[in-house]
Amino acid sequence: MPVRLWRTPLDTKKVKLPKAEIHIIKDQCKGCNFCIQYCPTKVLEESEEINAMGVHPPRIIDESKCVVCSFCTAVCPDFAIYVVEKQCKEGC
């Protein structure tokens, strides 16, 4: 049944996707960029700043794109990043 899907589904607004709060422990980062490379929604990028380790820690491009899959937390060799899901009250 190949139908051209061009509309925004009517219930798009009703679906609640997880809202993230990303924590980057900058000075623990050794700059391997695993989190940046393998983020499925490309939330992170390398920053200009130089941290205690002398590398560029990641920076958040757009936190709203994060779906809290937490792969960055799992793949970080240096325990320098983790994500928590916002326990949002009504309205958010």
Binding site: K30, F34, T73, V75, C76, P77, D78, V84, K86
Partner: protein, 284 residues
């Protein structure tokens, strides 16, 4: 949002409680896979809600050997090649302890190879996780038992002419009851595998292929951890229970997955049953 304001405190990494803060940051290079393996291990321990007092982590010499020290549990850092032998004493002395050996390919399969095959043969209930980085990283990248043919190392400047061990094949042939191989890119599967390994009876083995960009990578045109991870991504194929004999690691193909998962009474179980038997007879 109250909780958030609390956890935005930077040190509050959810799994930091499993680490010895005093020892952090770890000694490993940027892009090294050892941190990923450590990360997967503590996640597995966390998900299983294991009693850290009942856990003993033993490691040998080499970069990954430091792992034992980083995990906030009973830990011992042995001489080169001997973690399995040491762990044997621990497991037999107290079978209620979960004894895990986390060490490197050189430590476990060159200098320690004899202990590995015999522990597997006995089916002693210790769990071995090998970080395979294809060379001796800590001493500056010498050729080792897993160095691929033709690879360049500080001691094979003209290319390696030794055939490497196929670790999963070796483990399976030696009698391990659980054998799996993952790369540090397969963190979810590696974590699941570690959970399984921690819950199984008998000798279990996981090979965790790990990037060594600063040393091995430098010699072999993969200068960053990312490049090595991309190699893993390109080359790895998930094939569960395929023939470990056919699972040699080549630049083109790395077969990952579970190779062996069987039930077999562990050495310590048989030993303590035997002891119980003897003393029952004695009592009569």
């Amino acid at each position: 949002m109250v909780e958030e304001t609390l956890i935005t405190e930077e040190t509050a990494h959810p799994i930091s409680k499993f680490l010895r803060e005093a020892m952090m940051p770890h000694i490993w290079c940027s892009g090294c896979g050892n941190g990923v393996i450590l990360n997967c291990f503590v996640h597995a321990v966390d998900e299983l809600q294991m009693d850290l007092n009942k856990l003993v982590v033993v490691s040998g010499i080499g970069c990954i050997g430091r792992t034992a020290g980083y995990i906030n549990t009973n830990s011992f850092h042995t001489t080169h090649g001997r973690p399995i032998a040491f762990a044997t004493g621990v497991k037999l002395a107290n079978p209620n302890l979960e004894v895990v050996v986390i060490s490197g390919d050189g430590d476990l399969f060159a200098i320690g190879g004899n202990h590995f095959i015999h522990a597997a043969r006995r089916n002693l209930g210790i769990k071995v996780i090998c970080a395979n980085n294809f060379n001796y990283g800590m001493t500056g990248g010498q050729q080792g038992p897993t160095t691929p043919l033709e690879a360049l190392t500080s001691t094979t400047p003209y290319g390696n002419i030794e055939h490497p061990f196929n670790l999963v094949h070796l483990a399976a042939a030696s009698g391990a009851t659980y054998v799996a191989r993952w790369t540090t890119l397969h963190v979810r599967r590696l974590t699941q595998s570690i959970k399984k390994l921690l819950q199984k009876e008998g000798f279990c083995f996981i090979e965790a292929i790990s990037p060594c960009p600063e040393i091995y990578g430098r010699y072999n045109k993969m200068r960053t951890g990312l490049e090595m991870m991309e190699w893993f991504k390109k080359a790895s194929v998930v094939e569960h229970f395929s023939d470990p004999a056919k699972a040699e690691i080549t630049p083109e193909k790395i077969v990952v997955g579970e190779f062996v998962d069987m039930k077999k009474p562990s050495y310590e179980k048989l030993l303590h049953e035997q002891i119980a038997q003897i003393n029952k007879k004695a009592g009569e």
